[in-house]
């Protein structure tokens, strides 16, 4: 019969691999929250068409499709001046959201990992439903805003659900 201590050791090794492979230090949680909030604030600037001049920069563009004098011109790669507010907002939302998703709680244990996974699955489902509804009913330029919002919807839904479940648990 296998010794209890050996069994504990094997189980612990498996659980440790699972915990450390995907999650990062809880210190990144605050940074994630700040970046995500800044990204959401930045989205409102993008929607109101604000393009601060100091954010104009030369950028490398791939798959550039232009119409010059009524003739279509395609370039695989080009360097042009563009306002990079969109890019900064997008990266801020994605990076902030990812940090929120991956940062450990102060007291992270296996139940917290389960709640985290459940919240990610729940957010993925709701996100898919929202995207399908948007694909069916929103067209032309408005769909650009859908794609913009969609950068952060998955992370936002995850954060809301996870925080709600954890706070409900803390109240019990």
């Amino acid at each position: 019969m296998v010794e209890m201590s050996s069994l504990l050791y094997i189980c612990k090794a498996h659980l440790t691999i699972m915990e450390t492979k995907f999650l990062i230090s809880h210190k990144f949680r605050a940074l994630g929250a700040i970046l995500f909030s800044l990204g959401i604030l930045g989205t409102s600037l993008v929607i109101s068409d604000l393009e601060p001049e100091f954010l104009d920069a030369d950028v490398i563009m791939l798959f550039v499709d232009d119409e010059v004098f009524g003739k279509e011109e395609f370039k695989l790669i080009d360097v042009r001046e563009e306002n990079i507010l969109n890019e900064l907002v997008g990266i801020s939302v994605i990076l902030g959201g990812l940090l929120l998703l991956l940062a450990r709680r102060k007291h992270e244990d296996e139940m917290m990992i389960k709640l985290r996974l459940e919240s990610i699955l729940w957010a993925a489902k709701i996100n898919a439903v929202l995207l399908i509804i948007s694909l069916l009913f929103i067209y032309s330029l408005s769909f650009y805003f859908v794609m913009l919002f969609n950068l952060g919807v998955l992370y936002g839904l995850f954060a809301l659900r996870f925080e709600w479940v954890v706070s409900r648990l803390n109240r019990e």
Binding site: M4, L8, C11, H14, L15, H107, D109, M111, K114
Partner: protein
Amino acid sequence: MKNQVKIVRIEKGITQGDLAEKISVSRQTIHAIESGKYVPSTLLALKLSDVLDKTVEDLFELEEND
């Protein structure tokens, strides 16, 4: 799955907080296990049996629909 964790813990005079500290989980996890909302992993079940000095089968029992 039914479990006797709460009964055994009270018999031993251990609080949820103490038990949580001994097996390195949060107090909420102990509460969730005791109320049947969370089924622990093999590791946690073995740790619980170790700390509460009972076999895993003494603490956890399958129900008909499991």
